[in-house]
């Protein structure tokens, strides 16, 4: 086998394919399940995964973003305002708006904040989420202030109203699927560019990579993906309220991506699934789940830097290597299955 020729599957990557497939498979939930709790948990997992994709995209460039709630709010409020003021209910049009408005907003913002790196970028995005909250409270005319926006009209798909639990979940799945496809397309197409920026930005620049192009692109797409998550959240709750986008909720999205594993696109999904299920186990005492999040964050940073997915992959690679050494195989399975290296 020629090692320089990769199949399409290898080029797209195992993690990306599996992620998209897994999200597409959740269409089975509204098709077969009847339990409203299952609906609710699936909804939460998918919104969380979508928001965590946004963190994942920025981590490709070694930037930790707290700004996810800001762009989620932009997407969510855009949908609410277009629904209430202009009577727009078509889900495709609303999804496009929920992606484009935060993305357009991120473009000038990115020009300002992407010059910062490391800790300064973290701080500026954290400050952004605080500003978002204050702006929401201070503009009651547009955003409904502390009451939020309620009574948003039900979204429609080519005229069919998507009103019941099942339909709302289908909208969330659709949005998560679009977000996953966009994230996969971006991170696969520009894998090397992002990796170069992550590894050594200065070196990448001196080798001729126009770094700010890719950083701006990543930031804008991450904003759009967050916007989709905001749409899903608003559609699920039937209202847009400042508390849905509170500054410290960004910590959760970061926790999903880091605990799940920032090395693979599967990480945010696994992290979101595990942590949303875990916090549901605490049931009424939901606040206590924060302890678990904190404990897992510390554990991952100290002993398993690649998160759940990265650690499992290392185990598989190790056992694969031992067995392939037994068989004296020429191609290491790790490289063949990953296609990354």
């Amino acid at each position: 086998m020629n090692p320089y020729r990769s199949t399409l599957f290898q080029r797209i990557g195992f993690g990306e394919t599996l992620t998209v497939a897994l999200i597409a498979l959740t269409f089975l939930v509204p098709a077969f399940a009847t339990n409203p709790i299952v609906f609710s948990v699936t909804n939460q997992v998918l919104v969380a995964s979508t928001a965590a994709f946004s963190v994942y995209i920025m981590l490709r460039m070694n930037l930790l973003t707290f700004a996810v709630p800001t762009f989620m709010a932009l997407g969510g409020y855009t949908v609410a305002i277009f629904g209430l003021r202009f009577g727009v209910t078509d889900v495709v049009l609303l999804a496009a708006l929920a992606f484009v408005v935060p993305a357009l907003f991120a473009l000038p913002l990115g020009a300002l904040v992407l010059r910062l790196r490391g800790v300064y970028f973290v701080l500026v995005t954290f400050v952004l989420t605080e500003i978002t909250q204050l702006v929401l409270f201070e503009t009651p005319g547009l955003s409904g202030g502390s009451n939020g926006l309620v009574g948003i009209p039900i979204v429609t798909f080519f005229g069919i109203p998507l009103a019941d639990n099942r339909a709302v979940l289908e909208v969330t799945i659709g949005l998560a699927l679009v977000a996953a496809l966009v994230t996969a397309a971006l991170t696969v197409r520009f894998r090397q560019h992002f990796a170069a920026i992550e590894e050594n930005e200065l070196l990448a620049q001196s080798l001729g990579l126009v770094v700010w192009h890719y950083k701006a692109l990543g930031f804008v797409v991450a904003a759009g993906v967050s916007g989709l998550a905001g749409f899903a959240l608003v559609n699920m709750l039937l209202m847009a309220h400042p508390s849905s986008f509170n500054p410290l909720s960004s910590v959760n999205y970061i926790a999903y991506a880091i605990i799940g594993g920032k090395g693979s696109m599967l990480g945010p999904v696994v992290g979101a699934t595990v942590l949303v299920f875990a916090s549901d186990l605490f049931a009424i005492k939901g606040e206590y789940s924060q302890f678990l999040f904190g404990f897992l964050l510390v554990t991952v940073v100290l002993v398993a830097r690649d998160g759940i997915v990265g650690t499992i992959r290392r185990w598989i690679c190790r056992s694969a290597r031992t067995s392939s050494e037994d068989r004296k195989a020429a191609v290491p399975l790790a490289v063949a299955s990953e296609g990354r290296s």
Binding site: L123, V127, E138, Y288, G294, L297, V301, L302
Partner: protein
């Protein structure tokens, strides 16, 4: 006119509290290069330790304040020495660690003390009257203690060998270590000093404002504001910025109402970060 003066006094006493908080935060960043997301958590913990020692152990309030400061300093020491120290050069990893610690601390407090805010009153009440304006006595005491603490901290940082060693490590760790300074010994102490200051502020201020498990969030946000405004890692900048923020908050609360003042402050800080990351006065302590 009296209103202006009285509001100014409130602003100054707010500024003194903020200065104590922000000084700890900026010390940790300046010396260790760590953004301490758990800073608000240490403030809350300080408040709860003081509350528990006065109500459950019956200790007098000043003793409780000292115990709170020592307790939070001890926890800070242990955390730095055994967890943070391993990854101290990795900005994002240390950020995650302190974030994790913050989540654990605030939910730990929630489990132990419950979600309701306990009744924790300042032992001295009364109002100072003079020249037509009023100033609560408790704010005056807090202001005095804060100023003493700030002066002591300045003395510690600028006039003792310990302070010189810390500043040398902040300046250039490799050179300082080559001269014989031991980061492994000094970093935990510096971290403990900073978290102790947060705990002290918590013990002093929470009986006046309020005590609840989640009050750490706004404290963290305010510390961020001040430290960015004053220049990350700059001790003098943080002190001046704390008083500026305190005065702006006091005046905007009285004359503008709502959160317009906070919005203006945050926007100012955002612009500051973008245009001049080194802050109002400082030179850049660490490369962005």
């Amino acid at each position: 006119m009296e209103g202006l003066v009285a509001t100014g006094l409130i602003g100054i006493s707010l500024g003194a509290q903020y200065a104590l908080l922000a000084l700890g935060f900026t010390l940790i960043f300046g010396i260790l290069g760590v953004v301490n997301f758990a800073h608000g958590g240490f403030y809350v913990l300080g408040g709860y330790i003081a509350y528990a020692t006065t109500t459950h152990l019956g200790a007098p309030y000043p003793v409780a304040v000292v115990i709170a400061a020592l307790g939070t300093a001890g926890l800070g020491y242990v955390f730095e020495r055994f967890l943070l120290e391993r990854l101290v050069d990795d900005h994002l990893a240390t950020l995650m660690l302190t974030l994790g610690l913050y989540l654990m601390m605030s939910s730990g407090i929630l489990v132990v003390f419950g979600p309701e805010s306990p009744s924790f009153e300042f032992p001295i009440t009364g109002v100072l009257r003079g020249g037509g304006f009023y100033f609560p006595l408790q704010n005056l005491i807090v202001l005095a203690v804060c100023i003493v603490a700030i002066v002591t901290l300045y003395w510690l940082v600028y006039h003792t060998d310990f302070g010189r060693a810390l500043r040398a490590l902040a300046d250039d760790r490799a050179v300082a270590a080559a001269q014989g300074l031991r980061p492994k010994l000094l970093f935990p102490l510096a971290f403990a000093l900073a978290t102790g200051l947060a705990g002290l502020t918590g013990a002093l201020v929470t009986p006046i404002l309020s005590l609840a498990p989640h009050i750490g969030d706004p404290v963290l946000a305010t510390s961020f504001l001040i430290v960015i405004l004053g220049g990350l890692g700059s001790v003098g900048g943080a002190t001046v910025a704390a008083f500026i923020v305190g005065l702006i908050e006091a005046y905007s609360a009285v004359y503008l109402g709502g959160s317009k003042g906070a919005l203006a402050l945050f926007t100012l800080v955002l612009l500051m970060l973008v245009i001049r990351p080194s802050g109002l006065f400082g030179r850049e302590a660490r490369g962005a």
